[in-house]
Amino acid sequence: MSPVLKTVHLVKIYSDGAVPVPAVRGVDLQVEPGEFVAIMGPSGSGKSSLVHMLGGLDTRTSGEIWLDGRRVDTLSESAWALLRRKKIGFVFQFFNLVANMTVADNVELPALLAGASPKEARERRESLLGALNLTERADAAPGQLSGGEQQRVALARALANQPSVLLADEPTGNLDSRNTRDVLRLLSDVHKQGQTIIMVTHDARVASLADRLVSLFDGEIVDDGRIARRRTGTAGEVIDLR
């Protein structure tokens, strides 16, 4: 099996200020199809810079990025943008929905941009909104939705083009416990269906859904390993009322 995404000694140095600031310092990462990778680390450890580079939202300083067997960091900006529409889904902490488009149009747009026919885009939208219990909100404007609903729409939008990789940057950072639960359920479902997910998060509940944890510190990977799936025992092992 060839990796869906690979980086080779990836480096990002921000040189806007007086002193160059290294954010990512030589990351070698390989993600297999269907893997769910959580990326954790203190703020300033380079997590966001890393996923932004993986999604082509930020340029690398040096190193290589490979997506579906193709080197992408050397592509022109427009070629990268085209490829991204087809292969990458992105969810952020703030939903970034298009305010003056309906929920349905927000979700259909990426599929259309990726080259799907209007019929395919509509079917995909209907199935995603259905899975997220948002069918009745299809004609609403994003502003009429609660934060949790907006994040579910953002997730549906990110999945609309059936991306090779779903990238997420603190997708539950802004949500209360109940809405986090909805997002968790969806992530877990699409992961079971084989969706590859790479997610930056501080939220241990979300991270615990992943198969694998990559820890960043000072721009470098300091830990990369599987999260053990134990056969769940009884509550007594995790909760102690004394």
């Binding site: 615990s208 830990d223 009884t234 509550a235 092992e237 909760i239 102690d240």
Partner: protein, 168 residues
């Protein structure tokens, strides 16, 4: 468990097995099922301290069972417990001791300890997620108990991150 049993007996007199059932029903699936032996031992001690009184009730074809009542002294102790603020959690963390002490011996590296612990916490969190998904959403007490455990675990992970920033 002493005060939990007193609280249940304040509602109505009961025998040991009924108390076990009442605990299970109140706290739902998240509560580690109480050991019946431990309940009887605790009731014995409460009786010795004069906080409960046991009365033998005859049963046909079976040995007598003991029904426990709350005494006036027991009610006072219970009231005091309810009226006082409850101590907050104390930070006395086994892992933290290990993290501080183990590297001094030269047998462990702090970064490695932290990384392993982080994955362990996430694995525990996975268990809590599973437990939550198996719990009836309407079972408020059980859901809140699990959410409480999750929030504590999240705090432990955040603390781990602070340790990593300042100790490695």
């Amino acid at each position: 468990m002493r005060l939990h049993l007193l609280a249940l007996l304040a509602k109505e007199p009961a025998h040991g097995y009924e108390l076990k059932q009442a605990l299970e029903q109140t706290f739902g699936s998240a509560y580690p099922s109480p050991n019946i032996g431990q309940i009887y031992v605790t009731l014995g001690r409460l009786e010795k301290d004069g906080l409960v009184r046991a009365v033998d009730v005859e049963q046909s074809n079976r040995p007598n069972k003991k029904v426990y009542y709350l005494t006036t002294k027991g009610r006072e102790v219970l009231m005091t417990w309810v009226d006082e603020p409850t101590e907050g959690p104390r930070v006395r963390d086994e892992f933290f001791m290990k993290l501080v002490l183990a590297p001094l011996t030269g047998i462990a590296d702090r970064m490695a300890l932290i990384n392993r612990q982080r994955r362990h916490y996430l694995s525990l969190m996975g268990d809590l997620n599973d437990l939550l998904s198996r719990t009836e959403p309407g079972d408020n007490v059980a859901v809140l108990l699990i959410e409480g455990a999750m929030l504590h675990l999240q705090a432990d992970l955040d603390w781990l991150e602070r340790c990593q920033e300042d100790l490695t």
